[in-house]
């Protein structure tokens, strides 16, 4: 009933995975057990995903295994333009599937090495056909896959350190929007920018200290990587012949900063069955100040305009996470958690590609171990973004009129499943 009235009153419906579990366009679905515990993982070790969450904790994993997980992010985003506008009737809800996989090897009691692949950043949105902001963005698909080689060493039974070499192994971007240029035969011009990111390296480091069996502390850092696309393709369609000379660009280049993250965590085991975890993350989004494109010719802004700059002005963002795990039987563990994540996008700077907001997440999960060697992990995440508005006056005041005034509201549900094999 509410969904119907929304269609009538002018909501634009769209699909996104943007920002599942973390601010901005972080994804953070990097370990199924961790997802079930509110995204914690810095102050304890749950499995080989410690390579991502805290390579120092990885030193204590103590067995060799392979694990893989996949998630289905089911986003629901609604937009209502300022002043009401007209109804947007077409919706393109699309699910996306961030994955993670790790292999960890116990070299000896002190030394553990591993390989992992995960999707730390990404976004995919397909706005409804003809939506209010179609001249700012109609579609975005942003994918990044990191692979990581990790080594961790337990200096003492209480103190572990680890480091990983991280590579942006695969990155691609596909941005589309309509161009406000209509032809007499009824077509609207449309531009697509797509390209692959260069391979780039980064690292992560971590430390874990376990003063007792009941308590552990961890800290980790993951470096920033500037995802750079050079020689991306510019494709335009539906350009009226009389305006074609303004659209000569065939290639573009752009840089998207993927920020560094500081994490601190505490793990508590009051008894053999119960584990509690607390994490705090600081994501250095403030390095994302502007999105700049350069083109090999004229595009979007006319023949003489070969670059564009759009203000982002992100701020550093903190996330606070809490999770618990309870071992019901020797084979079954259940998990629950929650988090509160502060937006990295300031008021009046919201863009259609990242309709960020402060959000609350609730998570649940379980592990069922069929044997000593094989088990499955299930997880579920539900995330509720605070409704967020910006007015045309805000946009004018901030110099951010390249986006739309209105209200965004997002929820995301992410069921996920993983398997692991110990050997």
């Amino acid at each position: 009933m509410q969904a119907k009235s929304l269609l009538l009153t002018g909501g634009a419906l769209l699909a996104a995975t943007s920002g599942a579990l973390a601010s901005g366009f972080q994804i953070g679905l990097s370990g199924q057990k961790n997802i079930g515990m509110g995204g914690t993982g810095t102050g304890l070790y749950l499995d080989q995903a410690a390579q991502f969450y805290n390579p120092g904790a990885f030193a204590f994993v103590g067995y060799s295994s392979f694990q893989a997980g996949i998630n289905m992010a089911v986003p629901r985003i609604t937009f209502r333009p300022e002043g009401g506008g007209t109804g947007q009737e077409t919706l393109q809800n699309k699910n996306v599937f961030p994955f993670n996989g790790y292999a960890g090897f116990k070299v000896n009691d002190k030394f553990q090495v591993g390989l992992g692949a995960y999707v730390p950043f990404g976004s995919e949105l397909h706005y409804g056909h003809g939506w209010t902001g179609r001249y700012t963005l109609t579609d975005i698909k942003l994918t990044s896959v990191y692979v990581q080689a990790t080594a961790a060493y337990a200096i003492t039974p209480q103190l572990g350190i680890g480091a990983g070499l991280v590579m942006l192994a695969y990155g691609d971007v596909d941005l589309q929007r309509d161009i406000p240029l209509q032809s007499q035969n009824g077509t609207t011009a449309h531009a697509t920018l797509s390209g692959k990111a260069d391979h780039k390296f980064g690292y992560n480091v971590g430390i874990m200290y376990k003063p007792s069996d009941k308590l552990s502390f961890g800290a980790s850092y993951r470096s920033a990587i500037d995802a750079h696309v050079s020689g991306g393709d510019v494709r335009v369609s539906g350009i009226p012949a009389a305006a074609a000379s303004s659209f000569t660009a065939t290639n573009f280049s752009a840089t998207l900063p993927l920020p560094d993250v500081y994490s601190f965590g505490v793990g508590v085991r009051p008894n053999d069955k119960l584990t509690l975890a607390f994490d705090a993350n600081l994501v250095r989004w403030s390095k994302y100040q502007a999105l700049n494109f350069t083109y090999t010719g004229g595009v979007l802004g006319g023949a003489g305009v070969t670059s564009s700059s759009s203000v982002r002005n992100y701020k550093d963002a903190v996330a606070l996470r809490l999770g618990g795990q309870y071992k019901v039987t020797s084979g079954l563990s259940v998990r629950a958690g929650g988090f509160y994540d502060f937006a990295c996008v300031r008021d009046g700077y919201l863009t259609p590609e990242t309709p960020d907001a402060d959000r609350v997440g609730l998570t649940a999960g379980f592990t069922y171990e069929f044997s000593q060697r094989f088990g499955i992990d299930g997880s579920f995440l539900f995330e509720d973004f605070r409704q967020r508005s910006q007015s045309q006056a805000d946009l004018v005041a901030n110099g951010t009129t390249d986006r739309v005034a209105g209200t965004y509201k997002t929820t995301i549900s992410v069921p996920g499943i993983g398997v692991y094999v110990k050997f």
């Binding site: 009153t9 300022e82 390249d402």
Partner: protein, 488 residues
């Protein structure tokens, strides 16, 4: 246990996030029958003509569509039929010259022209009409008898006759526009009384003078006392039965592309051709008509308004075909003027050479650069004429505002709004909108009337004023879903 969370949460995932939206309401207004009073802007004229697409995208049509969300009823416009969709004909963009000057061409198919003699008339429309926007009407015209009656002997373009009013007026009726408005306000057995109105009249009382370069005797600025009297009269008539409404004032005509396109492009082209700005520019000022002396002004090209400049002379969009002839020994303008004037010329002017002699024009001299072959005042709005326009606009707007506030009506300050548009581009939903010709998205190819997107912004400004005045909550339209200029 295993299946439970996944299933429950998949259920949650199906729910669309919901935004609380204020529901549309009329507040203290009543939109059950809305009527629109006005001129070409209200009728939806664009691209120099009245045609079906423009009518469908008129701001009253948009308002009525939004009012319908808040209790508004049917809104009937005198639409041209699909078969005669091109109505009066209009301009379309055909392309650009090598130097970037736009080329327009006239659409002449599927017209709704019923006859061309003694004057042009269109296919009749005698059903209920809620949009009374009549292209060309001045506020001064509202009490002109036989304004929609073609039967009295009519000259080719008789200022006391309006072909669009003729369309909606039964044959032989001498009804004035004012009488028609009163009849619509009162309602009939089949048509309810009007409960809400918009009134945007008065533009042509000054625009007709300005677009004619202040050179056409029959297009004089309306006297302020006449304007004031008729403004009060029409507002009184509209509110006689207690209807509420919105009154708009008139924009500064000097801010429209009609006056700000050709001067700057001519300056740029002449500069590119290495013509010095000190080169002579000779134009006539005041009335330009055969058998009447005309005054010539000797100045230089430096007086012509350049892009972003403040030089005194504004060239009209209608000057576009002639500016490139500057400095040539040509009589093109004068031949065109003769062809246009010919049906009304007295027997004393039997041919072109006599016509030229009475105007004291020698077409063997350099056009626009010599006093023998001056640039005609019909294509120039000089400082004196601009001052006349500005003074009249201010006086008319004072009358309109006083008449509106006397009745406690909502008011759309179009003067201020269009000044802000002219001052610089505003970006709405990621689209640059400005007063630039063709590239600005807001003004159509005639340089005077908005595009559908321009009309959408007007509708939104009116909705804001209505909501503020009557405590209503009428949603705005989405301007980006309406087109700007269409390109070939």
């Amino acid at each position: 246990m295993k299946a439970f969370p996944a299933l429950a949460l998949l259920g949650l995932a199906g729910c669309q996030a919901d935004i609380d939206a204020p529901s549309a309401s009329a507040g203290s207004a009543n939109f059950s029958r809305y009527i629109a009073i006005g001129n070409s802007l209200t009728g939806g004229t664009e691209d120099g003509g009245v045609y079906r697409e423009g009518q469908l995208n008129s701001y009253p049509s948009m308002l009525a569509q939004q009012f319908a969300l808040a209790g508004g009823g049917a809104f009937n416009q005198p639409l041209f039929t699909e078969a005669q969709a091109n109505g009066s004909g209009y301009l379309r963009l055909a392309g650009f010259t090598a130097t970037g000057t736009p080329i327009t061409s006239a659409v002449t198919t599927n017209l709704a022209i019923r006859a061309v003699t003694p004057t042009v008339v269109y296919t009749k429309y005698l059903d209920r009409v809620d949009n009374l926007g009549m292209d060309g009407i001045k506020l001064a015209d509202i009490q002109t008898a036989n304004f929609g009656n073609v039967s009295p002997a009519r000259a080719y373009s008789d200022a006391n006759f309006n072909a669009y009013f003729e369309r909606i007026t039964p044959d032989g009726s001498s009804q004035t526009y004012f009488q028609r408005v009163k009849a619509e306000v009162a309602g009939t057995t089949n048509t309810p009384a009007a409960t809400f109105f918009s009134c945007w009249l008065g533009n042509n009382d000054v625009l007709a003078y300005a677009t004619g370069g202040g050179a056409v005797a029959t297009r004089a600025i309306t006297r302020t006392d006449t304007f004031n009297l008729k403004a009060v009269r029409i507002i009184n008539a509209l509110t006689a039965n207690g209807a509420k409404g919105i009154v708009s004032n008139i924009p500064d005509v000097a801010g429209i592309p009609f006056f700000n396109t050709v001067g700057p492009s001519a300056r740029a082209l002449l500069a590119a051709a290495n013509v010095p700005t000190a080169a002579p520019f000779v134009y006539t000022t005041g009335i330009l008509a055969p058998l009447q002396p005309n005054t010539r002004v000797n100045t230089t090209l430096a007086s012509v308004r350049s892009a972003g400049g403040s030089e005194p002379l504004l060239l009209t969009l209608t000057a576009a075909p002639y500016v490139s002839l500057y400095g040539q020994r040509t009589g093109k303008y004068w031949r065109d003027f003769y062809a246009q004037a010919r049906p009304g010329l007295p027997a004393a002017i039997p041919n072109l050479s006599v016509f030229l002699a009475t105007l004291q024009v020698d077409t063997t001299q350099a056009f626009g650069a010599s006093s023998g072959n001056p640039f005609p005042s019909t294509l120039v709005l000089d400082a004196t004429e601009q001052a006349n326009v500005s003074a009249a606009t201010t006086a008319f707007n004072n009358s309109l505002q006083a008449a509106a506030s006397a009745k406690g009506l909502a008011f759309f300050d179009a003067y201020t709004y269009f000044r802000s548009v002219a001052a610089g581009p505003s970006v709405i939903n990621g689209v640059n909108n400005s007063a630039g010709f063709i590239t600005g998205n807001l003004f159509s190819l005639d340089g005077v009337h908005p595009t559908p997107r321009g009309y959408a912004l007007v509708a939104n400004e009116m909705i804001k004023a209505i909501n503020a005045k009557y405590g209503s909550s009428v949603p705005q339209v989405n301007p980006t879903s309406y087109r700007g200029v269409l390109f070939p």
